[in-house]
């Protein structure tokens, strides 16, 4: 009985994680400029990590493998946002300006370019 519940839970978590990862990939292609793409990549990355690793950990039960999976999840959660910060900082330092975009309320001439 408990196996079936664990299986269904794993299925749900893994499918949601896969969907998150896919959304991140699609967002990386379709969003207009670099800073928007960073949002897509890093947010969906962290969420997808948590979901997929939780799904696999439920299947692994209590063993050394679960501990290693937990360690991998923690390291990915620590280093992912750091890498994103470093990248955004490097881009800003080298002069890539964030584009405010055409969805603002200001008239078109005042748009930052």
């Amino acid at each position: 009985m408990i196996d079936i519940i664990l299986d269904i839970l794993s299925w749900i978590l893994l499918l949601l994680g896969g969907a998150c990862v896919l959304i991140g990939g699609i967002g990386g292609l379709r969003l207009p400029n670099f800073y928007a793409r960073i949002h897509a990549a890093s947010l969906t990355d962290s969420m997808g990590n948590i979901l997929i690793f939780s799904g696999i950990m439920l299947q692994a039960g209590l063993s050394l493998a679960t501990l290693k999976l937990f360690a991998i999840m923690v390291f990915l959660l620590l280093t992912g946002p750091t890498a994103t910060y470093a990248l955004a900082n490097a881009a800003l330092l080298s002069g890539l300006k964030p584009d405010v975009g055409s969805a603002s309320d200001e008239p078109q001439e005042n748009k930052l370019k």
């Binding site: 620590l78 280093t79 946002p81 750091t82 910060y85 470093a86």
Partner: protein, 326 residues
Amino acid sequence: MIFIFAVFLLSLLVITAIAIVRAKNLFVAVMLTSIFSLLMAANFFILDAADVALTEAAVGAGITTVIFLCALSLTDDREKPREGSRWVAFCTVGVLALLIIYATFDKPRLGDPDAPVHQHVAPWYLEKTPEYIDIPNVVTAILGSFRGYDTLGEVFVVFAACIGVLFILSVKPTKKTNQVIKKESGLRHHLIPQVVGRLLIPFIVLFGLYVQFHGEYGPGGGFQAGAIIATGVILYALLEGESSALRAIPRSVLLGMVVGGALLYGGVGVACILMGGAFLDYSVLATDPVVGQQLGILFIEAGVGMAVCGALLSIYHAFAARESFS
């Protein structure tokens, strides 16, 4: 299923390789090389070669990218425009590629039990490893004990490569009068990488030691461990500036590690002679020959790890600290 994965990853590999060759901006080429190395590691993993995949991931993604970027910061970003045509090179490569493809038609299929490579030596290794050496990871048993001479040669090749690179970059030994220039370097002003990086460095070194000593039971060994520990020290050098890293682990220590690793390996071989066996015959190192073999493999893996770590760090410092000498 595995076939589909493998075909997919290999076609991605081809696309990345074409993109690397056609990139004009060298920085882009370095980033694509990092992706290429990751794809290779995934390919090795799918082919069930875990030790090779671990080495490729540890060396290709971390250290090679960092050294390429250090080299790029010393030179320009753009590729030099090429004069003349490439027809001779193109034709040579094309003819050779066709010959090699024709030669692969005669190869046995992957995993074919009737293939010659699976008939003579491989079953002998698989049968005799529990009897002579008794460790679960057959790859380490072959690398360390059955083919110990080859691995000795590899350590000496790493040593020679390190010395060669240091010669080419004209790294002079630091005298006492040379001040280590304390300039504003490293990612000192960025708080987040500092905090997270400092948190990670002990884990990286600990994981490197785990891989080193776990090489007899799972994927691991000296080469991978040396690369991982070198990555940890390079992370410290990136965060604090390489002058601090050179103060923490000076060049003499690094060269000592390279030399010491090679000496340790050769020394184990000589110790076997002194104890009555042949060169690199570890069975004589202890009263029980199986324990002697395991002890021998432990020592030589330590030698390999030291040599690789020292060599990679010397090469990194040779590139990164070069700007302060010019």
